[in-house]
């Protein structure tokens, strides 16, 4: 994955940022700074999945300039915080792999449905590939969206009875209403 230059916040160069603070008020500030940094970083890099075991390979959690790493347990706790606001979700029980939703699934769903409505594609069937990689979505926010995330977003729409997923082995498509 190509590295997009992220504009690091001041905290990134502040060593205490990489230690979970015991003082509650300080900690909440620290954690919220981490949350926004993670979302911003993932958005810039189109990063949908973080594996906590390999988190240190990301410059996000490892500032080699000041030689500080964020402890994996702290990463998990921050991601757990993110999941509370619907911005992340654990993929396994051990909480090693996480999906990051810099837009929540609901936001993704709304965006996709808006796009479908704008193009008058209700009652038609689209493949998931078309939705994420298609030519007419290149300028959209959800262009290049991870298939698993896309399915989850569409499941939200399905819950609202706005589409129906067709998931067979060969064809993965969705019919919008």
């Amino acid at each position: 994955m190509s590295e997009t230059e992220v504009e690091w916040p001041w905290q990134y160069a502040f060593p205490p940022f990489f230690t979970l603070q015991p003082h509650p008020e300080t900690r909440s500030k620290q954690v919220s700074a981490w949350k926004s940094l993670i979302l911003e970083y993932c958005q810039k890099n189109k990063l949908f999945i973080i594996d906590v075991r390999e988190a240190h390979q990301l410059p996000l959690f490892h500032n080699s300039a000041i030689n500080r790493k964020l402890d994996p347990t702290v990463v998990v706790s921050i991601l757990s915080e993110l999941s509370k606001s619907g911005n992340a979700g654990a993929l396994d029980k051990a909480k090693h792999r996480w999906e990051i939703y810099w837009h929540t699934l609901e936001e993704w769903a709304a965006m996709i449905y808006d796009h479908v409505c704008d193009n008058g594609m209700q009652n038609s069937v689209l493949t998931l590939f078309e939705l994420s990689q298609g030519e007419d979505v290149q300028d959209k926010e959800f262009a290049g969206i991870h298939t698993d995330v896309l399915i989850k977003a569409l499941r939200v729409l399905e819950g609202e009875r706005k589409c129906e997923l067709i998931l067979s082995d060969e064809e993965q498509g969705v019919k919008f209403f």
Binding site: W10, P15, P16, T19, Q21, P22, H23, T26
Partner: protein, 390 residues
């Protein structure tokens, strides 16, 4: 024969038997006497002659002082004599005393003969000559002169309970004396210690007067010396009836002594340091940790300028009662802003306080949201709390 005396065969002091011969007859000059077939003993002082068995039984015998002998010779046996008998001639000086009991009061001869009927085994003439030259009897008077005094105390008869009591008393007295000798040095030391305290006081006031003249370094060193002497009238448990009173006055004394030091150190002193400082100042009459702790615990209720404070980590310090965690945190935060970041060691060095207190100060600041930590493999450091500031 007038030189011989009747006496008991008991040996005198310093006298020892050299040799003895049997079957000896005494001659007065050339004349035979009735003293025949007897036992002859030569000692270092005398020649003793007794009837056979008389000497061993302690019966009266004849004695001749060797001091009277002038010359000894052995009479050569005549050509006609076939007996084994040998005769020794003793030429004698005039007798010195006449009072004593003698076998013969006067004699025309100046010599006597000892006739050994069966000859003699040992070299009698040689032994006698040797004795006369050594003059053992002349060494004798000196010890006799000293004798009466020497024996006097030993002769004391101590019988019965009174005697035992007296000897016990004497032993006690001797022990008392040796103990007081042993402690003489210590009491001198105590007297000197008071003077030393006095001297240290005058020096410290002098230092205060001319603070500019001496370099900072010297002042610090001097102060550290003076710290070791300071309390000349220590509060001791013995002088109080109840523990409570004792702790109260002890608390007061600790405050008086430590207040200025604690102020210098930024308002806090770990209890271990308090313990060391106090006991060093007291020198003798040391306090137990328990006593100090008890005294410190009542300081707050007595409204003294110092109080005991326990950090949440369990570290206990004595701090100025005017100090609260808020102001400590404030002061630490200012320092942090100055330095950018601090570890406990650096803070301890910067303020000249102990490591534990430095750490507690930083933790206090953190608790108040004034600092934040950076816990890495390089150790625990503290930074100004930019999370809350920005």
């Amino acid at each position: 024969m007038n030189r011989w005396k009747y006496t008991t065969p008991l040996l005198l002091d310093n006298e020892s038997t050299l040799t003895s011969e049997k079957n000896v007859r005494l001659y007065d000059g050339d004349q035979k006497t009735s003293f025949e077939g007897g036992e002859l003993i030569i000692t270092t002082h005398r020649i003793l002659w007794g009837r056979p068995g008389a000497i061993s039984k302690g019966q009266t015998c004849l004695a001749l002082n060797l001091a009277l002998i002038v010359y000894i010779e052995e009479e050569s046996p005549s050509a006609f004599s076939f007996s084994r008998s040998r005769k020794v001639v003793l030429h004698l000086s005039e007798p010195t005393d006449y009072e004593q009991d003698r076998p013969q009061q006067t004699s025309i001869y100046n010599f006597i003969k000892l006739s050994f009927r069966e000859g003699f085994n040992s070299n009698v003439t040689g032994i006698l000559n040797d004795c006369i030259q050594r003059k053992h009897w002349e060494i004798f008077p000196q010890p006799t002169a000293a004798e009466p005094q020497k024996h006097a105390p030993q002769i004391k008869l101590r019988t019965g309970i009174v005697g035992i009591e007296r000897s016990l008393q004497e032993k006690q007295k001797a022990a008392d004396e040796s103990i007081s000798v042993a402690f003489q040095d210590l009491s001198k030391l105590m007297i000197m210690a008071k003077d030393m305290v006095q001297i240290s006081r005058t020096i410290s006031t002098k230092i205060k007067e001319r603070q500019g003249d001496i370099t900072e370094d010297e002042t610090v060193r001097f102060k550290s010396y003076l710290l070791s002497l300071g309390i000349d009238d220590p509060v001791t448990r013995n002088s109080y009836k109840t523990d409570n009173q004792y702790y109260r006055s002890l608390a007061k004394q600790i405050c008086d002594f430590l207040q200025s030091h604690i102020e210098e150190m930024g308002g806090m002193m770990a209890l271990t340091d308090v313990f060391c400082r106090i006991n060093r100042a007291r020198g003798l009459e040391l306090l137990s940790p328990e006593d100090i702790l008890n005294a410190c615990q009542i300081m707050e209720s007595m409204e003294l300028p110092l109080k005991l404070f326990e950090f949440s980590s369990g570290v206990r310090v004595l701090q100025l009662s005017t100090l609260d965690s808020e102001s400590v945190a404030e002061a630490t935060a200012i320092l942090l802003d100055d330095k950018g970041s601090l570890s406990s060691e650096e803070l301890a060095q910067a303020l000249g306080i102990s490591f534990t207190i430095a750490k507690e100060r930083l933790l206090t600041a953190e608790k108040c949201g004034k600092s934040c930590r950076d816990d890495s493999i390089e150790g625990l450091r503290f930074y100004p709390n930019r999370f809350l500031a920005e």
